[in-house]
Amino acid sequence: MTASDIRSDVEHLLRTLAPAVLGAVVRRFGDFAASEDAVQEALIAAATQWPNEGLPEHPRAWLIHVAARRMTDQLRSDIARREREAFVVRQEWPFADPAADNDHADAAPDHDDTLALFFMCCHPALTPSSAIALTLRAVGGLTTGEIAHAFLVPEATLAQRISRAKQTIRTSGVPFEIPAGAGRDARLASVLHVLYLIFNEGYTASRGDALSRTDLSDEAIRLTRAVRALLPDDGEVAGLLALMLLTDARRAARSGPDGALIPLEAQDRALWDRGAIAEGVALVSATLSKGAVGAYQLQAAIAAVHDEAARAADTDWPQILALYGVLKRLSDNPVVALNHAIAAAMVDGPRAGLALVDAIDASGRLAGSHRLDATRAHLFERAGDVQAAIAQFLAAAGKTASIPEKNYLTAQAARLAQQTS
């Protein structure tokens, strides 16, 4: 093993251990913000020491011990300061080594702690960008620098975002626990939504080996696997993991060597990751057979239908249309309605699709979105109305905030213009 292999193994191990370590320290000391800082310091200490000095006998206990020592040092200095200020300490503080009993404890508290961490970091009181940053650091074990790099913002800015998120948790009194009853499903939905956003962000930074350390799509899949290990019977958790796997399976085919976007129907399907597709299909099949159906499971089922077609022409569009019909009834989302219109066009012809797109446009719910124009462009082209297609491709290109997508849409307009000249 090379030195860099050892380093990467250590980093992997640290990030696997991070949530359980943080959970144990938070449970012991209560103060989430300070515990999180202490665990970050312990992780950094381990990342520098372990590759040179070898792994400790009990890596998790080592981390808990180091983090707890930082916490007690901090508490001691806080208390010393307060004593100097003649402050009477009312409470005992936990000087005991939490690693001593945690190391031999059952797996169950670990599970609960990690799950409670997910619920805390993805609390609906946080803005999406704060929840994403906090989840990647506290649960994912990424450093502030790595997260800042992935989102292309200065490290100081990202550090402030995390610190603000912790402050929000403190001021809104978010407890470190697994919510019970009806609130639990809503809170789990927040967790899944944050993981889904992290996965989507990964599309921008998913190229090149140098970025692999902070590859957000991989990280989202890893974290979703962790949630699934904690909640193996939850259909939507399985559905989200399946959706990620089935989408990520197309990664290598999704862009050309120059970074150009390649749409689903033009992708070289030999490049698709068969292993990821098989795992995703198995997951979604198993969960759908259980009955209860959610939005992630349906989206995963649609992705599975695409992924199972050997050629684009073999795609089972009637089945996709039916699935979008169910999804549309389940979630009142204009993007779902637009995808339903695309599927309708594939089954009933482009004019049927265009009529549905007009209805979505009239609702005003996708006003200003390039998706409407891009969908119309494709449908006009299929309907043979080349001039309308060119105009819509150019309109879409002007509105998208994605560079590869803008290039793709502009190129489509140019291709059609060349055909007519």
Partner: protein, 132 residues
């Protein structure tokens, strides 16, 4: 989502009513306002970059000649406005970017009165592409 906020200052009256003609305490108040805003944006975890630009007196427009060497032109007396500074912020939505732009627009000027400068808000192309 990242946005670029471009603060434009009127070219007309730049030498007769521009910042160089303000009272020192007005200039100080203006600078303190901008520094304070940047600190707030940093503390909110939203600041990506912020830069003020040197005055338009030495602004040059450059084009390549046929041999690739720079052909410089300017400054341009006829321009109505010039770019005075820019911010790049990473925020949760356009509304927040507009709010920040409005704050910049109302920065204090001569006598502490709001300048109401036009601030152009443009989204930075950093979104992931959409996939069906």
């Amino acid at each position: 989502m990242k946005y670029m906020l471009m603060m434009h200052a009127p070219k007309e009256g730049w030498t007769t009513a521009g910042i160089g003609t303000w009272a020192p305490k007005d200039i100080q108040a203006h600078i303190a306002f901008m520094l304070g805003l940047n600190e707030q944006l940093k503390a909110a975890g939203e600041l990506v970059d912020a830069q003020g630009l040197a005055g338009p007196e030495d602004a040059k427009s450059v084009r390549a000649r046929k041999d690739g060497t720079p052909d410089t032109d300017g400054p341009f007396a006829e321009a109505k406005e010039f770019l005075a500074g820019f911010w790049i912020v990473d925020v949760d939505g356009a509304k927040r970017a507009y709010d920040i732009a409005a704050t910049i627009s109302a920065a204090p000027g001569k006598g502490g009165a709001p300048l109401y400068m036009p601030v152009e808000v443009r989204q930075v192309m950093s979104a992931p592409p959409t996939e069906q």
